[in-house]
Amino acid sequence: MVKKIIFKNLIVYFLSINFVQAAESGGMPQLDPEFWVSQIFWLVITFGILYLALSKLILPKISDNLETRKSQVLDNLELAEKQRNESESKLKEFDSIILKSKIDAKNLFNESRKKLLDDINKKREKLEEEMDKEVKIIEAEINELKKKSPERINKIAIETSEDLINQLIGAKVNNSSITAIVTDVASKNKTQ
């Protein structure tokens, strides 16, 4: 047992001598064990603090941020999709409404045109009827005038010829003889 401890100590002693010599002979400062323990100690402390602070405080926050962003982006995409669908259906509705109103307008136009045409026809018929009536009355009047006119012409001719004879010769001629001559002439004219 004692031998073992002595042996161990010897090994440690030689090792440390070697390291110290290496450091003293301008070798690598890394192999100088003077501050090894201090470096390990401070490494454990700083890395421990870093690990604890990162894992307990900072990384969960970053992860939360990423998660919320992801979910928010997904939400927004979903909302956008929904609104797109909504607007599409609205557009369809709008189209159908426009189509329907176009058809309505056409129907209305046709109907009113028909009505108007009917109206015009009716009025025209009425007007034509009235015109026909008037024309008939006027024709009747003209016929009557035509019938009466030879008599009046004869009468005027008799009167004027009576006056003419009276002034030319100053004598009264028998009315009936003149009438006979005039009717004779008139009938001659008529036959001609």
Binding site: M28, W42, S55, I58
Partner: protein, 239 residues
């Protein structure tokens, strides 16, 4: 090599026999931690649908690492997200802060990277044994290997498993140290060659700065993704 020196800042603090004084390494660990916490705290404070710049940074980092974990370790690794996020950010900020002149690069010290890697190694091993019990040892026995080769393969697998913390820590440490040493060397050339011949190393120095920034990011990424891969082995046991 003075840029890698660790020195005490303030009084000597002793916990019993052990020296735990505040050093410049501790200072840059604290600065990294505070910077990460400030940036991500302000990035997480406001919750707007269209994020501002800091918020965008925080959210991009969050989704970047969450995607990395789910790609490499599957959905079972979700409970370890905070740890891997902190790990990635811590390594990244330590690397990046080291790129500022006259600062100290925490990750250029093997002890720091080794403690991180050892913690990951032990944690992953414990998780593996909790999830699969003794069946976790099947990790060392790949399926479809001829019986003759099996002993050899198992030994190789065990060695590769045990060397994980070393490879993980040395990769980060060596990359950071080599990069900074190289820049120091080229900087020294600029000074020694003076105004006549110093332009070439100066150009190299500028190019190296760009490369080192890339490496700083890449190594943080590699560190985190290897952690994910180890975690994947522990969580989903199929080789």
């Amino acid at each position: 090599m003075t840029q890698f020196n660790v020195y005490r800042i303030g009084p000597e603090i002793k916990l019993g026999e052990i020296d735990i004084s505040f050093t410049n390494a501790s200072l840059f660990m604290v600065i990294s931690t505070i910077a990460i916490l400030l940036i991500f705290n302000f990035g997480a404070k406001k919750n707007t649908i269209i994020p501002n710049k800091l918020q965008l940074l925080g959210e991009l980092s969050y989704s970047f690492i969450s995607k990395m974990i789910s790609d490499t370790a599957g959905s079972k690794a979700k409970p370890y997200f905070s740890f891997i996020f902190s790990l990635f950010m811590f390594v990244l900020f330590c690397n990046m802060l080291g790129m500022i002149p006259y600062t100290f690069t925490v990750t250029s010290h093997i002890i720091v990277t080794f403690v991180l890697a050892a913690f990951i190694f032990i944690g992953v091993t414990i998780i593996g044994f909790i999830k699969h019990g003794i069946g976790y040892l099947k990790l060392f026995v790949p399926s479809g290997v001829p019986m003759v080769l099996l002993p050899l393969i198992v030994v190789i697998e065990i060695i590769s498993y045990l060397s994980r913390p070393i490879s993980l820590s040395v990769r980060l440490f060596a990359n950071m140290m080599a990069g900074h040493t190289m820049m120091k060397v080229f900087g020294g050339f600029v000074v020694s060659l003076g105004i006549v011949g110093g332009w070439l190393p100066l150009g190299f120095s500028v190019a190296l700065t760009g490369l080192e920034i890339l490496v700083a990011f890449l190594q943080a990424y590699v560190f985190a993704i290897l952690t994910c891969i180890y975690l994947n082995d522990a969580l989903n046991l199929h080789h």
